[in-house]
Symmetry: C2
Subunit: 214 residues, 2 copies
Amino acid sequence: MKIQLENVKPADIEKRSFAIITQELGARQLPAENESVIKRVIHTTADFDYVDALRFSPDAVAKGIRALQEGACIVTDTQMAYSGVSKPALAKLGGQAFCFMADEDVAQSARERGVTRAACCMEKAAALGKDCIIAVGNAPTALVRLYELMEEGKIAPRLIIGVPVGFVNVVESKELILAQDKAPYIVARGRKGGSNVAAAICNALLYQATGRSL
Amino acid sequence: MKIQLENVKPADIEKRSFAIITQELGARQLPAENESVIKRVIHTTADFDYVDALRFSPDAVAKGIRALQEGACIVTDTQMAYSGVSKPALAKLGGQAFCFMADEDVAQSARERGVTRAACCMEKAAALGKDCIIAVGNAPTALVRLYELMEEGKIAPRLIIGVPVGFVNVVESKELILAQDKAPYIVARGRKGGSNVAAAICNALLYQATGRSL
């Protein structure tokens, strides 16, 4: 069997990928303000289901970009999402990324109280007292605790990226965020999502905030 | 709107998730030796397409587990996949994880030769001279270079986890691996995959190698 590779220069691979995504979307129109986020998530997952699954509160993308340009930090619920966030782009804007999942105080608090570490991470994000975007790519318990902390007035995220993945309370945790109006959100409705999706959305916002072309 | 959350203890969430996955697979029989890998990938992605997409060379799972038990290292093509690999499980077996993407010599070599950093990472893996499992979750160029290095007799991976994602040469790079018989493989045929999928497959093998229940 002869396998034919397409000859694309390293610097052009991403551009070519986005061109293929645009072509395959065909006549399907995406709202201009959400297009770069949607396409970057498809680029990351090769999954066109996200065209319908991704839900945006009004001006969520613009609000996220503005927050980053004003130096907001990004708090993720996993080390994987943390790893995936473009630190150079974030640093350019004076921002910083945090993930508290490996912190000993988080592990201890979770053990003592019988809650997940991810939920405790949200409390630590609230205690941080910084302007932040919360990106949840894994744990619905993080999203539920975040919702409670918002209800209690303990945190007011500049944007919620709510894309946990899985089977237990994942759909429900996202519906909680979709039903509230305290914070702007980008949510992947349904079961799908992931740390890679959370990082991709962060990066789509970061690239726009720093004027990168794609 | 009242959103009802299922009451599941933190320690039971994973077990409950796997039970739901098993239930939804219904009558669909998975080969016993591949079941834990397939289910963990679905757990990570909430995407049942992987039931058909994942392809295993004969005894790939058993060979991967044996390699890990013999202290093989894991080389990933992204920091995200590296982050996702269970380091405690790997350490128990005397193994180590590597990702060379952020290395200055890799960046320099890629620039000079007009190739991707991911391709250079595979050369660095070959030069490592260690027993290794290569886990590619992102860059088809890594998989293509790995194939060439195998053809040149410069590397003989104990297992290839070939799950890059995307649109440019992704399908083709996987077909290269599926068509060779020099190394055992676990490949996600088609466009889908990702760093999260690569890490999930590593962890499914690691958990079995260390006798963890799920």
